[in-house]
Amino acid sequence: MSAIATRYEVVVGLEVHAQVTTQSKMFCGCSTDYLVAAPNANTCPVCLGLPGSLPVINRKAVEATIRTALALNCEIPEFSKFDRKNYFYPDLPKGYQISQYDLPFSRNGHLEFEVKGEPRRCGITRVHLEEDTGKLLHAGAIEQAQSSLINLNRAGVPLMEIVSEPDLRTADEAREYVMRLRAILQYIGVNDGDMESGQLRCDANVSLRSVGATEFGTKVEVKNMNSFRAIHHAIEYEIARQTEVLDAGGKLVQETRGWNDAKNVTVSQRSKEFAEDYRYFPEPDLPPLEVSRAWVERIKATLPELPSARRDRLVKDFGLSAYDASILTSSKPMAEYFEETVRLGAPAKTAANWILGDFSRFLNADHKEIGESALRPSHLQQVIHLVDSGVISGKMAKQTFEEMYRAADPGPALEAAKRSKQISGDTELEAIVDQVIAQNEKSVNDFKAGKAQALMFLVGQAMKLSKGRANPERLNALMRARIEP
C-alpha cells in the first residue's frame, strides 16, 4: 500500500446507518425487536403500507437523533422536516421511504479519533432520521434466486443516517472512525452497536486521485460490510483494485459494489447508467418540526460522559497511556469494567494490562463482549491481588486467569489458586513448629500452665513464619501435639 500511497491519494467517505433503540417503530406502535419475532408478526396497517394508513412521528427517535448529532458536534437547525424518497423495491412497502432531504435534523459536525495513538478528525456532513426497510430472503444467492420472500418486521424501525465528509485517507482511518462512532452511539444509549445483526451498517465511498489533485476521482460505493474487519478489508481491496485500473491507464466507472466476505472481494452490483431519480418532496402526512433551543438544551443536558472525555480522565486520574486509555474507552462496557476493577483495589496500570492483554485476546477469539464473560471485575481484582501479595507467580496467574475465563463459574479456579502453594507436608510443618517453640519458650510454658490462648499465639507465629502458606488445620494439630503435656 505504501508504494501506492505515494502515487495516489485515497479519498474515503462513510455512510453509517444506525438503528435507534426504541420500544416502538418510527411511525407506528409496532415492536422494534424484529430479530426474535416470527416473520411479519410485528406489522400493522402503517408499516405494511396498507391503503389509508398514516404515519405518526416517534418523539424518542427524534430526540435520539438530536442527541447523536450533539455528541458529534453538529449544528441543530431550528426548522426540520421529513421528505419522501420515492423508489420501488420489494422491501419498501409504500414505494417511498420517509426520510429527510434538504432540512435534516443536523449538519456540520465532526468526530475525533486515533489511529495508532495519532489523533485524527473527520467531518460529519449530516445526521438525519428515516425509516428502515423490511428484509428480503432469497432462495440462494440473490443473482440466481427465482423469488424473494418479504419480512416486514424491520420495516419502519427508526434509522439514523450518519454521513461523513470525504476526509478519511486509509482503511485504518475508516475502521477507527467507525469504531469510535460505534462507541459514541453506545455511550449515549441510542444504538447497541451490533454490526452482524445489522443494527449498525456501513457503506463507503472510495475514490483515488493523483497526489495534489483538487477534484475528486470517480467514486465507487461499497456496500454490505458488516464487521470492522470487512470495512478494513473492503476498502484495502478497493484501493488496490482502483490503483490497478488507473495504473493500466484504464477508467473507473461510478458504480455500487458489494463486499463479499467469503471471497474477500468487492463485486459490481449495478452501475449508475440508469440514474435513480428519487423525486424527493416534503412528506405531506407529517407537519414539519421546529427544534427550539430550549428543547436542544434539554437533550444536551442528558448526554453522558463521552469516550474522549473519559479517555482524558483515565489518563489524568490513573496515569494510563493515551493509547491504552482510548482503547479502553472505545467500548463503554470495557471502560466500565476497568473502572470497577480499579475501584475494588487493583492498581490501574495492572488492571489495564490484563483487560487489554489476555482478556481482550480471549474475548476477540470468541467474538464476545466483555459484558458477556462470567469473569467479573471482582475476580480480576483478586487474581491481581494474589500476584501482588506473592501468593502466586505471574506465570501461574496467567494460567489461573485462563481457567477462570473458560469456566462457567470462575470461583473454583480462583480458590484453587489461593490454596495452590499451601504447605501441608508434616515434615516441613514440623520444622516450622520446632523453630517457633524454640523461639517462644514463655508462651509454651504459659500453655502448659493452662493458658489456652497461648496456643493461638504460637500457631499465629508459625503461620507468619510460613508466609501464610501453612495449612491452618494441620499446623494447629501438630503444634498442639508437640506442646501438650
Binding site: P45, L48, G49, L50, P51, G52, S53, L54, P55, V56, I57, R84, N86, F88, P90, P93, K94, G95, Y96, S148, I150, D277, R279, Y280, F281, P284, D285, L286, P287
Partner: protein
C-alpha cells in the same frame, strides 16, 4: 312517504318516538337499492348483513334508551375510498379488487359508535380521480335525474345514492371538488370541510395535502348533523387539527341578516352555462332579500388554481399510488420475469387510463430538472391562493358562486378530452388549495337538471358556511326537488 325518502332529522324523531324501527328503515333503503341499484350503479358493494345487524343493535339501543345519538339507526353509504374492517374496499380500482382491510377508517369508527347503519361501499372514480365517475374501474355511475348523464365525481356513487333514495346520507371525499360537484349535479347537499377538520386515517389517499372526507345529504341540517359526527382531532392523523368543534346544528340558526357576503368576479368563468349563471344571480338576490350585504370581491389568482392543482395533486398521487405493486394486497399480474417486470405488468393492468395519466404527470413534475419549474412553482401559487382568500375574508364573512359551471353532462361527452374534464372543477379547486371550507346546496333546475350553489367560508368556520347555506335553503324550496328515481317527497 317512504322511509328512505326522508331526512336524518325526520327519521331520528320517528326512531326515538318508535314510529319506525331501524330494521324497517334499513330494509326500506335496501329495498330501494334492489329497485334502482342496477340503473344507478351507485354501489360497488352492498353490506346487507352488516346493515341489518347494525340496525338490530340500533333498535336495541333505542329500546333501552342507551346512548341514542342523532345517527343511531340511520342507514348511510360510504364512499369506497374509506376502509371498513372486513368489508371489500377498492377505491374504484381493479388493482384493489378483493382487498379486505383489516382495519377501519377513523370516520367509519366514529359513525359505528354513533350507531349508524352501513348500507355499503359506493362507486367512485378510480382513486377519486375524476369529475364524472366514468373513471370507475368497474362501471360508471348514472345520474338519478337522467340515467344518460353523469352524476359528477369522484363521489358520484355517494351523491347518486342519496339522490336516488339508496341511502339517507353518505360520506364522500373531496380533493378538488369531488363532494361539492357531484352534490351539485345530483341536487344534494355536499360539504368539503377545512383540511384538518376531519381525520384522513383510513381514507385511501389521492392527494394527501388536499384530501378531506365530508358529508353528502338531502339538506343542510343533515349535513351539519353528519359533519358533527365525523369532525375533530385524531391522534392517528398528524395533519388533523385540534381546533375545537362547535355545535354545527345549533349554529344553523341566526340567518344572514347583516352578514357580508362576497361574490368573486372570477367565479363566473367562461364556458359557464347561462342557466347556471342565472340561478346563481337569483340566489344572490335571495340573500339580499334576507338582509345580507352583497359585494363583489376578487380572487385574482383563481385562473392559476387549476394548473397548480394539476401539478400538486398528481405529484402527491404518483407517490401515494406507488404502494400498489401487487405484493402485499390487491391483484398481482403474474408473468413477469423479475420483480420490476412484475410491478410494471401489475400496474399496467390494474390502473385505468386516467390514473396512469396522473401518475405519469406527477412523476414527471417531481423528476429531477422539473421539480422547481412545476412542483415548487405550484406550491408557491398555492400560497398566493391562500392569500387571496385571506384578503377576501378580511372584507366578507362568506363567498358565493356556482359549484359547477355546467349541469350534469351526458355520459361519454368529455371522456376523450382530459382537459375539458378537468375544467369541471375550476370553481371548486380553489377552496382545496386555499385551505377553506365549502358547501354546495341546490339552487334550481335547468331542463330538469339540478344546479348547485357554492358557499365558501374561512378555514375552520364550517358553521358559517352551514348557516349561510341553511338560510338560503329555508328561504327556498330547491332542496325539495327530488330525482324521478326517489319520487316526489310530497
Amino acid at each position: 312517504m317512504k322511509p328512505f325518502q326522508r331526512t336524518i332529522r325526520e327519521l331520528h324523531q320517528m326512531l326515538v318516538k318508535r314510529e319506525i324501527s331501524s330494521i324497517e328503515l334499513t330494509e326500506s333503503a335496501l329495498g330501494q337499492i334492489d329497485a334502482v341499484g342496477r340503473e344507478t350503479h351507485a354501489y360497488l358493494a352492498v353490506t346487507r348483513d352488516l346493515a341489518l345487524r347494525q340496525a338490530r343493535e340500533a333498535d336495541a339501543r333505542i329500546r333501552e334508551g342507551r346512548a341514542v345519538r342523532p345517527l343511531t339507526g340511520i342507514p348511510v353509504a360510504l364512499k369506497d375510498v374509506l376502509c371498513v374492517e372486513g368489508v371489500p374496499t377498492t377505491a374504484g380500482s381493479r388493482i384493489l379488487e378483493g382487498f379486505v382491510p383489516p382495519y377501519s377508517a377513523t370516520v367509519v369508527e366514529r359513525l359505528s359508535t354513533e350507531g349508524a347503519v352501513f348500507l355499503g361501499k359506493t362507486n367512485c372514480d378510480e382513486f377519486a380521480m375524476g369529475s364524472s365517475n366514468e373513471n370507475s374501474g368497474y362501471r360508471p355511475v348514472r345520474n338519478p335525474w337522467d340515467l344518460d348523464r353523469v352524476p359528477g365525481g369522484s363521489s358520484g356513487g355517494s351523491a347518486a345514492a342519496v339522490a336516488s333514495g339508496e341511502a339517507v346520507a353518505a360520506l364522500g371525499s373531496d380533493t378538488g371538488g369531488s363532494i361539492r360537484q357531484p352534490a351539485a349535479l345530483t341536487g344534494t347537499v355536499g360539504m368539503k370541510p377545512t383540511y384538518g377538520r376531519v381525520s384522513r386515517y383510513g381514507l385511501i389517499a389521492f392527494a394527501s395535502s388536499l384530501d378531506q372526507v365530508g358529508p353528502i345529504t338531502r339538506d343542510v341540517a343533515d349535513c351539519a348533523t353528519l359533519l358533527q359526527a365525523i369532525a375533530g382531532h385524531d391522534p392517528r392523523d398528524s395533519t388533523s387539527s385540534e381546533h375545537p368543534v362547535p355545535d354545527y346544528v345549533a349554529g344553523l340558526q341566526g340567518g344572514v341578516h347583516g352578514m357580508r357576503i362576497g361574490v368573486p368576479r372570477e367565479y363566473f368563468v367562461t364556458g359557464m352555462e347561462p342557466a347556471v349563471e342565472r340561478a346563481v344571480r337569483s340566489a344572490i338576490e335571495v340573500f339580499e332579500r334576507l338582509g345580507a350585504a352583497i359585494e363583489e370581491v376578487s380572487l385574482p389568482h383563481s385562473d392559476v388554481a387549476l394548473p397548480a392543482y394539476y401539478i400538486i395533486a398528481p405529484a402527491e398521487a404518483s407517490s401515494n399510488l406507488a404502494r400498489y405493486d401487487g405484493a402485499r394486497y390487491g391483484v398481482q399480474a403474474g408473468g413477469g420475469h423479475n420483480v420490476t417486470e412484475e410491478y410494471q405488468l401489475t400496474r399496467q393492468q390494474g390502473f385505468g387510463a386516467e390514473v396512469k395519466r396522473r401518475i405519469m404527470l406527477g412523476t414527471y413534475a417531481l423528476s429531477s430538472g422539473y421539480y422547481d419549474a412545476y412542483y415548487l412553482k405550484a406550491q408557491k401559487v398555492r400560497t398566493l391562493i391562500i392569500e387571496d382568500f385571506a384578503r377576501a375574508f378580511e372584507k366578507v364573512d362568506a363567498l358565493l358562486g356556482a359549484t359547477s359551471p355546467t349541469v350534469a353532462f351526458p355520459l361519454g361527452a368529455k371522456t376523450q378530452d382530459p382537459v375539458a374534464m378537468y375544467l369541471n372543477d375550476i370553481i371548486t379547486i380553489p377552496a382545496n388549495l386555499g385551505n377553506v371550507c365549502g358547501i354546495s346546496v341546490p339552487c334550481g333546475l335547468a331542463q330538469g337538471l339540478p344546479i348547485g350553489l357554492q358557499v365558501i367560508a374561512p378555514g375552520f368556520r364550517e358553521e358559517v358556511a352551514l348557516r349561510v347555506a341553511y338560510a338560503f335553503e329555508s328561504a327556498t324550496s330547491f332542496h325539495k326537488d327530488r330525482s324521478p328515481l326517489i319520487g316526489a317527497a310530497g
